[in-house]
C-alpha cells in the first residue's frame, strides 16, 4: 500500500516461543513445544498482513506475542522502532492502548456480568481517552462505526448474537485509538453470512482509520480478501510471504499450493478440479521433523529436504515474494 521506505510499524525478529512441558514425578521440564520457532516479519503502517496456516502452526501465538500478552522465549518485537521487551512496566501500560486485539470467540470475549456501557467505557476512562462527560458520546460514535445502535449500551453481552458481539469486540479494540490491531481469527466462530460482514467492516475501518492489522486466519480465502500481504506458516515457521495477489495467484511453496487447493470454489459448473489435498497431520511441534518441516507431507520432497532446513529466499531479485522451498524454486527456473 505504502511505497515509501519507512520504518515498519511492527517488526518481529527471529521470534521464538517455546512452551515448557512439565511432567514426571518431580514436575520438571521434560521438553518444549516449539510453537513459534524463528520467525521474522514486518508490517508497514496502514497495511494488513494476513497470517495463515493450519491449527497449531503457531499463528495465534504470534498474535498474542505482538500485543504483549506473552513474552517471547527468544527474539525481539519492535513497535514503532521500540523493543517491547525493553519497555518498563508503566511504559508498556501506555503503549498497550495502541496495540489492540480482536478475539476469535466473541462469546467469551465480553464479561457476561457487565453491560456494554461498562465494558466500553472503563478502559477509555482509565486511560484518559475520554472523560465522564464525553464518554457516552464517544461510545456512540464508535458503536456507529461498527454498525451498532446506541441502545446497545444498556444491554448485556448475552443479549447479542455472535456477529453483534464481534462488532462490540471490535468497538472495544477501537475505543482506545489503537494504531495496530491483531485480529485473531475474528470470523472463524461466526456464520458464513456474517463472516463477510465482519470482514467488510474490518476492511472499511482499516481504510477509514488508517489502521495496521495482523489478520490471523486459517482460510486463505478470507485472509486474501482483507490482506495486502500474506505470510503462510507451517509448524512454527513462515514458509512463504509476499503480496496477497502474488501468493494467491502464483503460490510457490507446496504447502501454500495445498492450502489454495483446499479453498472450496462456489461454482457447481466448474469441472472437478484435480484436488491434491494434503495427507497426514501437522507434525509434532515438540520434535519437529529434521530438515524442511513440511517434507513428510510434501509431494515434491527429495533427499536434501530431509537434511537441510531451507530459509526464506526471494523469488526474484527485486520482488518481495519469499518462499522457503529451494526445490520448487529451481524447478520453476528450469520450466520458465
Amino acid at each position: 500500500m505504502k511505497t515509501e521506505e519507512t520504518v515498519p510499524l511492527v517488526r518481529a525478529e527471529n521470534l521464538k516461543v517455546y512452551y515448557p512441558i512439565k511432567g514426571g514425578i518431580i514436575n520438571h521440564t521434560t521438553g518444549y513445544v516449539k510453537a513459534v520457532d524463528g520467525v521474522s516479519f514486518f508490517i508497514r503502517e496502514g497495511e494488513t498482513l494476513g497470517l495463515v496456516g493450519e491449527s497449531g502452526c503457531g499463528k495465534s501465538t504470534i498474535g498474542r506475542q505482538l500485543v504483549g500478552l506473552e513474552k517471547p522465549t527468544e527474539g525481539k518485537i519492535f513497535f514503532e522502532g521500540r523493543d517491547l521487551s525493553l519497555l518498563k512496566k508503566d511504559e508498556m501500560q501506555k503503549i498497550r492502548t495502541r496495540l489492540q486485539m480482536v478475539f476469535q470467540d466473541p462469546y467469551s470475549s465480553l464479561n457476561p456480568r457487565k453491560h456494554i456501557f461498562e465494558i466500553l467505557s472503563q478502559p477509555m476512562l482509565y486511560h484518559g481517552i475520554s472523560t465522564r462527560e464525553s464518554v457516552e458520546k464517544d461510545m456512540i460514535r464508535i458503536l456507529d462505526m461498527v454498525g451498532l445502535s446506541r441502545n446497545t449500551l444498556g444491554r448485556y453481552p448475552h443479549e447479542f448474537s455472535g456477529g453483534q458481539r464481534q462488532r462490540i469486540g471490535i468497538a472495544r479494540a477501537l475505543s482506545l485509538n489503537p494504531k495496530f490491531i491483531v485480529c485473531d481469527e475474528p470470523v472463524s466462530a461466526l456464520d458464513v453470512s456474517i463472516q463477510a460482514q465482519i470482514l467488510n467492516l474490518l476492511k472499511s475501518l482499516q481504510k477509514e482509520l488508517n489502521l495496521t492489522l495482523l489478520f490471523v486466519g486459517h482460510g486463505l480465502g478470507a485472509v486474501n480478501y482483507v490482506s495486502d500481504r500474506i505470510a503462510v506458516m507451517y509448524l512454527g515457521k513462515i514458509v512463504e510471504m509476499g503480496d496477497a495477489k502474488e501468493i494467491f495467484h502464483h503460490p510457490a511453496h507446496p504447502y501454500t499450493k495445498a492450502l489454495l487447493n483446499a479453498v472450496p470454489v462456489p461454482d457447481p459448473e466448474e469441472k472437478r478440479r484435480e484436488r491434491r489435498l494434503l495427507e497426514g497431520e501437522i507434525g509434532d511441534s515438540t520434535h519437529p521433523p529434521a530438515g524442511c518441516r513440511f517434507h513428510p507431507r510434501c509431494p515434491y520432497a527429495v533427499e536434501t529436504c530431509r537434511q537441510k532446513e531451507p530459509g526464506l529466499q526471494k523469488m526474484e531479485k527485486a520482488s518481495s515474494h519469499e518462499a522457503a522451498c529451494p526445490i520448487v524454486m529451481t524447478k520453476e527456473e528450469e520450466i520458465g
Binding site: 500485543v67 504483549g68 500478552l69 508498556m92 501500560q93 501506555k94 498497550r96 492502548t97 496495540l99 489492540q100 486485539m101 478475539f103 476469535q104 470467540d105 467469551s108 470475549s109 465480553l110 464479561n111 457476561p112 456480568r113 457487565k114 472503563q122 478502559p123 482509565y126 486511560h127 454498525g147 451498532l148 445502535s149 441502545n151 446497545t152 444491554r155 448485556y156 448475552h158 443479549e159 447479542f160 448474537s161 455472535g162 456477529g163 453483534q164 462488532r167 469486540g169 472495544r172 482506545l176 456464520d191 453470512s193 456474517i194 460482514q197
Partner: protein, 324 residues
C-alpha cells in the same frame, strides 16, 4: 436489516406484546435469530432478575427465607421482645412452662424464652462473623493463588491443605488452653478453620477465568491489576462463593453449638444455642425437663436447614446452565 426485524417479530408473535417491542428494538444489526437460543438471548432481563425469577420457583427456599427473616428479626429485637433480662434470676428453679414463663425457667431460675432469643443473637453472630472472616480470607488467598500461579500458588495451596487436615476441635482446644474461651475466640477460630474450601473454590474459578478472552482483552487494554482482579474476575466468582458461604454459615452455627455444648465455646452466663443444650448432658434434664433443651435444639435444626435450603436454591438459580 428491515427485513430481519420483521422476521424477528414474526418469530415472536406468540410472545407477549411487550417482549416483541423490546426485541424489535434490540436488533440493530444484521443477523437473523438462530432459533431457540437466540430467541432466549434476546429477552431483555438483567442477570439479577433471572436469578430472582428462578429462585422463586423453590418454594422450600422461599419458606426458608421467611423463617430466617422471622427468626433473625426476633433475635435482632431480643431486647424488645424478651419478657425478662436473660441473665436475671426471675423464677423458680427448673420451672415448667407456665403463663408467666412460656418456655419455663432453667436450673437457676432464668427465663428460657428470653435466653433463647438472646442465644439466637449470639449463634447468628458467631455464624455470620465466622463466615465473613473465612470468606474474606478464602477469597483473597484464592485470588492470589489462582491469578499469579507459580510459587505463590504452591505456597498458598499447601498451606490450605495443611489447615484442611487439622481437626478443628483440636485447634479450639489448643486455642482455649492458650486464650480464654469466649465469643470472639470462637468466631476467630471458626473463621480461620473454614476458609480453605472457599480458597480452593475461588482459585479454581480464577484459573478458569484467567484464560478467558475478556480477561485477556482487559490485559491488552492495559487495565490495572486491581481492576482485573476485583472488577472483572471477582464478580464472576460471586455466585459460587455465595452458595458456598451459605453452607459455611450453617456449618459454623453447628460447630458453635457443638463447641459450646462441650463447654469450649461461648461461655456462660452468655447464652448461645449450644450452651443452652449443655444442660441436656444431665439425664434428669434430658428425660424430665424437655423445655430446657427441646426449643434450643429445634431452633438450631430449623435455622441450619433453612440456610441450607436457601443455599440449594441459590445454587440452582445462579447456575447459568440451568435452562429455566
Amino acid at each position: 436489516m428491515g427485513k430481519s426485524k420483521v422476521r424477528v417479530q414474526k418469530r415472536n408473535v406468540r410472545e407477549s406484546e411487550h417482549k416483541v417491542n423490546e426485541i424489535s428494538e434490540s436488533s440493530p444489526a444484521e443477523d437473523k435469530p438462530g432459533g431457540e437460543s437466540a430467541k432466549k438471548d434476546l429477552t431483555n432481563e438483567s442477570y439479577l432478575q433471572t436469578v430472582f425469577r428462578r429462585f422463586r420457583h423453590h418454594h422450600l427456599a422461599m419458606i426458608s427465607i421467611v423463617v430466617v427473616i422471622l427468626l433473625g428479626g426476633a433475635a435482632l429485637l431480643a431486647p424488645v421482645l424478651a419478657p425478662y433480662r436473660p441473665d436475671d434470676i426471675v423464677g423458680p428453679f427448673s420451672g415448667a412452662p407456665s403463663k408467666e414463663f412460656w418456655l419455663g425457667t432453667d436450673q437457676i431460675g432464668r427465663d428460657v424464652l428470653s435466653r433463647l432469643l438472646y442465644a439466637m443473637r449470639i449463634s447468628l453472630l458467631v455464624g455470620i462473623m465466622a463466615t465473613l472472616i473465612s470468606t474474606i480470607v478464602g477469597v483473597v488467598l484464592g485470588l492470589i493463588a489462582g491469578y499469579f500461579g507459580g510459587t505463590a500458588d504452591m505456597l498458598i495451596m499447601r498451606f490450605t491443605d495443611m489447615v484442611m487436615s487439622f481437626p478443628y476441635i483440636l485447634l479450639v482446644l489448643v486455642a482455649a488452653a492458650i486464650f480464654k474461651p469466649g465469643l470472639w475466640n470462637i468466631i476467630l477460630i471458626l473463621g480461620f478453620v473454614d476458609w480453605p474450601g472457599i480458597a480452593r473454590l475461588v482459585r479454581g474459578n480464577v484459573l478458569n477465568l484467567r484464560e478467558t478472552n475478556f480477561i485477556k482483552g482487559n490485559i491488552v487494554a492495559g487495565m490495572p491489576l486491581r481492576h482485573i482482579l476485583f472488577s472483572e474476575i471477582l464478580p464472576n466468582t460471586v455466585a459460587p462463593i455465595l452458595v458456598y458461604a451459605t453452607s459455611v454459615l450453617a456449618l459454623s452455627m453447628l460447630d458453635e453449638a457443638a463447641l459450646s455444648f462441650l463447654g469450649l465455646g461461648v461461655q456462660p452466663p452468655t447464652a448461645s444455642l449450644g450452651n443452652m443444650l449443655n444442660g441436656a448432658q444431665s439425664l434428669t434434664v434430658l428425660t424430665k425437663q424437655p423445655w430446657l433443651w427441646i426449643p434450643a435444639g429445634v431452633l438450631i435444626v430449623v435455622l441450619v436447614m433453612a440456610i441450607n435450603f436457601i443455599g440449594d436454591a441459590l445454587r440452582d438459580a445462579l447456575d447459568p446452565n440451568s435452562g429455566r
